[in-house]
């Protein structure tokens, strides 16, 4: 069985930091009912890459430009590949929360749900008369999870956050990149959107366990920035205890002695291999693979401490040696010799080449009602007994807009035909 079978979640999240949390709950078997309205859809529904229509070539490569969401050029809101992945395993209804009757209908959904999760700005739900007290009066053991960027409590309650904002303020951006005077490199994707999603999921799971054991629901205030701060503890302690502020080290190991430890050029355009040598055995193996050139026999590379001290020079030597090697053959050869080595893989490498990811079935085929079957990233935890995968209870990829209106409104909430027709006419459904 699926471990969260029977848990129903009213999902008012969007984008990644919000919507990625319920995605994980779906993989564990929770029924996620994503609530959307056509006038203010998730931006991801308008953002590429899109599933190509038949016989249509690949979309033109364009830079993301959030300020210029070109809604008119999007033919269908059901074709975004990013949305398809982030919302796999969920159901979806169309529901106009800005309409008073929409909010009444939402309350009926709350009455049959276990969890309400939203990532609006902090005051939205309260303004709609749907604060925790109200939700609790509808369903006494409801778990209500609020996930505004900076948290509900505190002076920054109205501040906005996306992954890059949380990364910047927390210190994660400053910690990434080549040493000063180079600027921080930061993160080339919304790490804290994914991490925000993890904390959304793990907090709801914790509260669900607590409810199973005590019968009590609860209200949770989960910011996107705090989980980022949570990962910087070693650096905070180093400053408090030793008065030392974090200094970027590029790809070099900041606290664990290792050298060589970095990315080295290989044959091909923008091809690199990461090597991490942290003891004498690994060093000896690397030296042997390099053919024991005379430079390796110098005193300045004889011990780990010496190699760390002289790593500028060491990196040059190693970089020259790797530069005429094919990266994957070199990875295999070094790994066989016991040297930790890995190619800096692109998405194409991971999808088309990586035999381990294939073996682990990291992408699973799931069907989307409009764009058909596509590979979806499965969750990276493998259960032995329970049924756990990203298809979730729906066993499909992301829902189309309003795809599950019949199920939710007719079967679950038991609206009469007349009621539903009226609500549709009034712009509520």
């Amino acid at each position: 069985m699926r471990p969260l079978e029977g848990v129903r979640v009213a999902d008012l999240t969007w984008l990644l930091a919000g919507a990625g949390g319920p995605r994980l709950l779906a993989s564990l078997g929770a029924e996620i009912i994503r609530i959307e309205w056509r006038d203010r859809l998730d931006f991801l529904r308008y953002m590429g890459p899109f599933a190509p229509a038949q016989n249509e070539g690949a979309a033109k490569a364009e830079a993301l430009d959030l300020s210029g969401l070109n809604k008119d050029s999007v033919k269908s809101v059901n074709r975004s590949g990013t949305f398809n992945d982030i919302n796999a395993g969920k159901r979806a209804v169309s529901l106009n929360m800005a309409h008073p009757k929409g909010r009444e209908l939402f309350k009926r959904l709350v009455a049959v749900s276990d969890v309400v999760v939203e990532s609006f700005t902090a005051e939205t739900m309260r303004k709609w008369g749907l604060g925790y007290d109200t939700l609790k009066s509808i369903k006494s053991d409801i778990i209500y999870m609020q996930q505004p960027g900076w948290g509900y409590k505190g002076p920054y309650v109205k501040f906005a956050s996306y992954g890059p904002i949380a990364q910047a303020v927390s210190g994660l951006t400053e910690q990434s990149g080549l040493p000063a005077p180079q600027p921080p490199a930061g993160w080339g994707f919304s790490y804290m959107d994914w991490s925000g999603a993890y904390y959304c999921a793990l907090t709801i799971l914790c509260a669900t366990y607590y409810k199973k054991r005590t019968g009590k629901g609860q209200y949770l205030d989960c910011s996107q920035v705090e989980p980022a701060i949570y990962m910087t503890g070693t650096a905070v302690l180093d400053q408090l205890v030793n008065g030392r502020s974090y200094q970027r080290t590029g790809n070099r190991s900041p606290y664990k002695m290792a050298a060589p430890h970095g990315a080295y050029r290989c044959v091909g355009e923008d091809r690199w291999i990461a090597l991490a040598v942290s003891n004498d055995d690994e060093w000896k193996s690397l030296v042997r693979e390099m053919g024991t050139p005379s430079w390796t026999q110098q005193d300045k590379f004889a011990t780990l401490a010496a190699r760390v001290l002289n790593q500028d020079e060491l990196d040059q030597y190693v970089g020259v040696w790797t530069s005429d090697k094919e990266p994957f053959a070199l990875q295999e050869r070094l790994q066989q010799a016991g040297v930790p080595a890995g190619v800096c893989q692109t998405a194409q490498d991971r999808i088309e080449r990586d035999p381990q990811l294939k073996h682990l079935r990291w992408l699973i085929p799931l069907v989307h009602s409009e764009i058909g079957e596509w590979p979806i990233k499965d969750v990276p935890f493998h259960f032995t007994n329970g049924t756990v995968n990203q298809g979730g209870p729906t066993e499909r990829a992301a829902p189309c807009y309003g795809e599950d209106n019949d199920y939710v409104y007719d079967e679950l909430l038991k609206l009469t035909k007349q009621e539903r027709a009226d609500l549709e006419k009034e712009g509520v459904i």
Binding site: Y162, P164, N251, S253, P340, P380, F383
Partner: protein, 414 residues
């Protein structure tokens, strides 16, 4: 107040791969007992150290990642040690294992044996590449994981004009492969605990770190799946199919800010008004940009970024970003981690917490909870265990006499 997982007992056999997951379990209220070899876990040798003195009880790394746990020492490879371990497993809800593959199996504790010992056990195993497959025995560390997982090819600096790179891909430092895998392992573990409430049965969960890391990038995978388009790394912003406008700008005091475009309706006018009030709107207030159609495309986006850069350059890092946020514009300072200690937001939320180190006669600010629960509390202490600190307590609870504990100590089994 108690924690979410107030009645959950966890036994942790973990190195740096699994310690973060254990930290989360302890934070969520579980009673986490860390089992270390006599003399202490190898992770106690990771720096930085208190006053830069390498010492098993003074690794700041270890302090952070083992906060809130209790600790015992035990030579699990000795016959007697294995028997003690079995007793502890029999009384635990969760066994968290990130030791090298097969370590437990070699002690006769493979999954069937664990189930026989404790049918309700949730056994969660983190390993670099999983239990089987062609790379099963590959060696990895944080850097190698972030290379193979795709993070590095997304992170770094702008390409040159001709599209080639003179800088390497960058792995954001400080153990993120293990953060990612630890978060996922925690999610799976609590999911299994919930499932156990229905089935009454245990579960074995495999978490291959390589897979966890590989699913934690953003648009590069869908761009390849749907359009066979590659993404290119660029300074301080998302890897994308083409080079986009800058979002990271130097400030007057030699620091940096992140300034995102405002995607909301009316956002453009708000931002320009803000720049104008600061005297740095450039030509954005001119007639030619009043028509929204004149503001489309990458050329305008780059021009807009130049205006932002000029405005930001006139202010110190902490001077300007709140003003933007007050108007709903997502801006942020690029802080060092400790610069959050004095921030009013985190003080209001008690994000940092004072923790006693009685062995040093000192107290330090630690990062407390990653969220704010109301019905329960996130664990606020104690500090990480000293080597073997809870041997007496825990082994006595297992039913050993004081003499027996002494004897095990003399024989260096604990």
């Amino acid at each position: 107040m108690q924690g979410f997982l107030f009645d959950v007992k966890v036994l942790e056999l973990a190195d740096e791969k699994g310690e973060f997951c254990g930290k989360l379990l302890a934070g969520a209220g579980a009673d986490v007992v860390k089992v270390e070899p006599p003399g202490g876990n190898p992770t106690r040798s990771l720096g930085p150290f208190y006053h830069d003195e390498p010492h098993a009880d003074r690794s700041l790394y270890f302090w952070h990642y083992n906060f809130g746990k209790r600790g015992v020492t035990l030579d699990i490879h000795s016959a007697e040690g294995t028997e003690v371990l079995k007793k502890m497993i029999a009384q635990s809800d969760v066994l968290l294992d990130s030791l090298p593959l097969e370590t437990l199996a070699k002690l006769g504790l493979d999954w069937p044996a664990l189930q026989a010992l404790n049918p309700r056990l949730i056994y969660v195993a983190l390993s670099p590449f999983g239990r089987s497959g062609p790379w099963r025995d590959y060696k990895a560390n944080d850097l190698v994981h972030l290379a193979l997982g795709g993070q590095m090819m997304c992170c770094g600096y702008n390409p040159k004009e001709d599209g080639t790179y003179d800088t390497p891909p960058i792995a954001p430092q400080m153990w993120h492969a293990y953060h990612i895998a630890g978060n996922q392992a925690f999610i799976a573990t609590v999911g299994a605990l919930i499932g156990r409430e229905t089935t009454g049965e245990g579960e074995m969960i495999d978490v291959p770190i390589h897979q966890a890391v590989s699913v934690c990038t953003e648009i590069d995978v869908p761009y390849w799946i749907y359009n066979q388009t590659a993404c290119y790394r660029q300074t301080g912003r998302h890897a994308q199919p083409a080079v986009g406008p800058e979002v990271q700008f130097p400030t007057k005091d030699g620091r940096y800010s992140i300034i995102l475009a405002n995607p909301f309706p009316g956002g453009y006018e708000t931002v320009v008004k803000f720049f104008d009030e600061k005297g740095h709107a450039g030509d954005l207030t001119s007639e030619k940009y009043q028509d929204p159609n004149s503001r489309k495309g990458i050329e305008f986006a780059r021009h807009f970024a130049d205006v932002q850069a000029n405005c930001v350059a006139a202010f110190d890092m902490e001077e300007i970003w709140r003003g933007g946020q007050d108007l709903g514009i997502p801006w942020a300072p690029i802080r060092t981690p400790e610069e959050n200690l004095g921030d009013a937001q985190w003080q209001a939320r008690a994000t940092f917490t004072e923790v006693e180190h009685p062995e040093l006669g000192q107290r330090f600010s630690y990062i407390g909870a990653p969220m704010l629960p109301n019905e329960v509390t996130w664990r606020q202490g104690p500090r990480a265990p000293l080597v073997g600190e809870h041997n007496e307590d825990i082994y006595r609870q297992l039913g050993m006499s004081r003499e027996e504990v002494m004897r095990l100590k003399e024989r260096e089994i604990i």
